[in-house]
C-alpha cells in the first residue's frame, strides 16, 4: 500500500513534508480543498457553455425543423444572417464560425450544383441536355438550397462542437427519462474510444515485431482495422462483465451523482432558437417569397 502515497500528486510543500514524515502504512490524500480540476470549456461561446447539453439538441431542432417547410432565398438568408449575428453576440465572430464550419459550405456548394442542374423545372429553359435541365425555377431553387443548407447545418454544427458526452448522458436520463442502461452503456462505449488510438498504435507495433504489415499499405490498414474491431469487441465484452459485477443493469433504480437541470438560461435559449425560424419564415411571407417546399414546383 505504500506505493499509493507516492503516486499521489503533491501540490504544496507542506504535503510533501507530511508525506516524508508519514509512516509507510499511511496513505496521504490530497485535501479536498486543494484538489483542483480546471473546468473544461464545452463551447467557445460563453452563452452555449451555460446551457444544458440536452437543450443544445432541442434548440438545434427548434431552429432547423421549421426551415424545411419553405425553400426560398429570403427565409434562408434571413435565418443565416440572424444566426451569424447571434453567434457573434454569443462570443464567436463570423469569421471563426465560417472557419469552424467549412465542410458545411462545401456541402452547400454540392447541393447548389445538384439542384441547379437537376432541380424541378419551371419558367424559362436556359439549357437542356439529357436529364440536365437548367431553368429559371431551378436556378432560384439552387440559390435557396445553398443558403438553406448553411442556415440549417451551421448553427447545429457549432452547438454540437465540444459537447461533453457525460453531461449529455446525465441529461438524457434525468430530463428525457431515456433508459439509463442504454444511455450509460452507450457512454461506456464512447469512453472506450480514447483507448482505440492507443490500441491502434500497440497493434501496429506488435504486428511489426512479428514481421506483418510491410506489404501493401491498403492491405495492412484493412487487416489492422479488422484487428482493432475484434480487439474492441473483446474489450467491450470484458467491460460488460465488469459493469455487471458493479451492479450495472440491475433492477433497482439508479441514483444520480451529477444533477442535470434545465435553468432559466435554457428557456431563453429555446425562445431565441424558435425566434430565428419564426422571423425568417415571416420575412418570406411578408416579402411574398414564401415557397412551400413540398409543392409541385
Amino acid at each position: 500500500m505504500s506505493d499509493v502515497s507516492t503516486s499521489l500528486p503533491s501540490s504544496t510543500a507542506a504535503l510533501s513534508a507530511a508525506r516524508s514524515a508519514a509512516s509507510p502504512e499511511t496513505v496521504v490524500v490530497t485535501a479536498r480543498s486543494v484538489r483542483v480540476e480546471p473546468a473544461h470549456s464545452s463551447s467557445e461561446s460563453w452563452f452555449i457553455q451555460r446551457i444544458n447539453p440536452v437543450s443544445r439538441f432541442i434548440g438545434a431542432l427548434l431552429m432547423s425543423l421549421p426551415m424545411f417547410i419553405t425553400l426560398d432565398v429570403v427565409s434562408a438568408c434571413t435565418a443565416l444572417g440572424l444566426e451569424l449575428v447571434l453567434l457573434w453576440i454569443g462570443g464567436i465572430n463570423p469569421l471563426r464560425v465560417l472557419r469552424r464550419t467549412w465542410p458545411v459550405w462545401i456541402a452547400a456548394v454540392g447541393g447548389f450544383l445538384t439542384v441547379f442542374l437537376y432541380g424541378k423545372a419551371s419558367g424559362d429553359v436556359y439549357f437542356h441536355w439529357g436529364i440536365i435541365d437548367i431553368t429559371q425555377g431551378s436556378v432560384s431553387l439552387s440559390i435557396a438550397t445553398f443558403a438553406r443548407v448553411g442556415a440549417v447545418a451551421m448553427p447545429s454544427v457549432i452547438l454540437a462542437l465540444g459537447l461533453d458526452p457525460t453531461d449529455l448522458a446525465d441529461g438524457l436520463v434525468q430530463l428525457l427519462h431515456l433508459s439509463p442502461r442504454f444511455v450509460y452503456g452507450g457512454l461506456a462505449g464512447l469512453r472506450m474510444m480514447t483507448l482505440l488510438k492507443e490500441d491502434w498504435h500497440a497493434l501496429g507495433l506488435s504486428r511489426r515485431s512479428r514481421g506483418l504489415g510491410d506489404g501493401g499499405r491498403v492491405r495492412a490498414v484493412a487487416t489492422q482495422s479488422f484487428n482493432l474491431l475484434v480487439l474492441s469487441i473483446r474489450r467491450a465484452t470484458k467491460l460488460a462483465t465488469a459493469m455487471e459485477a458493479r451492479g450495472f443493469g440491475g433492477d433497482t433504480d439508479r441514483s444520480a451523482a451529477r444533477v442535470s437541470k434545465v435553468h432559466a438560461v435554457d428557456w431563453i435559449f429555446y425562445a431565441i432558437a424558435l425566434a430565428i425560424p419564426v422571423v425568417a419564415l415571416s420575412a418570406a411571407v411578408v416579402t411574398g417569397n414564401w415557397h412551400f417546399a413540398f409543392g409541385s414546383v
Binding site: 442502461r181 452507450g186 465484452t237
Partner: protein, 205 residues
C-alpha cells in the same frame, strides 16, 4: 456450408443483456468514426462529381448505412440496428461534419428505423445474409427519404430522385448487406462472439 439454424439448447432471447448494450455501443462507436471519416473523405468528391454524375451520391451512401445492420447481426436484439445507427450518427455529429444535426443525427434516426425493419419484418427470428441485405437496402431507402425531404428543390420521384433511390439501395445491399455479412462471419471466426448467439451458430447443426 454454415447453417444458420439456431441451436435448440440455447433459445433466442429478445431481452437485452448488459453485454449486448456495450458491444452494440462499441460497434456503433467504430462505425461512427468511419461515418465521420467518410464525411471528410467524400466532401470534395460529392461536391465535384454528384452534379456531373447522377447516382454518384447514392453509391457512396453505403458507408453511412452499415452501422445498424452490423450491430444487429452481431447482438441480435430488437432495436439493435436503430440504437447503433443513432449512436454512430451522434458521434459523427459531435466530431463535426458538413451536415449538422439534420444530415447526421436525424438521417441516422431515419436510417436506423429503416434498417431495423429488415429484421423486425421477420419478428427477429431470421438472422441471415438475406435479412442483412434487406436491412441494408431499407437503410438506403431511409437515406433517400431524408435526402429528398430536405432537398425539395429536387423531386422525390424525378429522374434524379429515382436514380438516387436505386443507387442508394444498391449501395446499401452491397456495403451494408453483403460486406457486413462477410465482416460478421470474419469476426465470428475469431471466437470473440462466443458469448453471443451470433457466435454460436457457426457450428453445423
Amino acid at each position: 456450408m454454415v447453417s444458420n439454424i439456431i441451436d435448440k439448447h440455447l433459445p433466442h432471447s429478445n431481452k437485452w443483456r448488459v453485454i449486448d448494450i456495450v458491444v452494440a455501443s462499441i460497434i456503433a462507436v467504430a462505425s461512427g468514426v468511419i461515418f465521420w471519416a467518410w464525411d471528410l473523405v467524400s466532401t470534395a468528391p460529392l461536391a465535384l462529381f454528384a452534379p456531373v454524375a447522377p447516382g454518384f451520391e447514392g453509391l457512396l451512401n453505403g458507408f453511412w448505412l452499415f452501422g445498424g445492420p452490423l450491430a444487429a447481426i452481431i447482438v441480435r436484439k430488437p432495436g439493435a440496428a436503430f440504437y447503433a445507427e443513432i449512436l454512430a450518427a451522434f458521434l459523427e455529429l459531435t466530431f463535426g461534419n458538413q451536415w449538422g444535426i439534420g444530415g447526421s443525427l436525424i438521417v441516422g434516426i431515419v436510417q436506423g428505423l429503416f434498417a431495423e425493419i429488415g429484421f423486425a419484418i421477420f419478428a427477429y427470428k431470421v438472422w441471415n445474409i438475406g435479412s442483412t441485405m434487406l436491412s441494408g437496402a431499407l437503410a438506403g431507402v431511409g437515406c433517400w427519404l431524408y435526402y429528398f425531404f430536405t432537398n425539395p428543390g429536387l423531386g422525390f420521384l424525378g429522374q434524379y430522385g429515382v436514380i438516387y433511390l436505386l443507387t442508394s439501395i444498391v449501395s446499401g445491399v452491397v456495403l451494408s448487406g453483403i460486406v457486413v455479412w462477410l465482416l460478421y462471419k470474419a469476426i465470428a471466426a475469431t471466437g470473440v462472439l462466443d458469448r453471443f448467439e451470433s457466435g454460436r451458430t457457426q457450428v453445423e447443426v
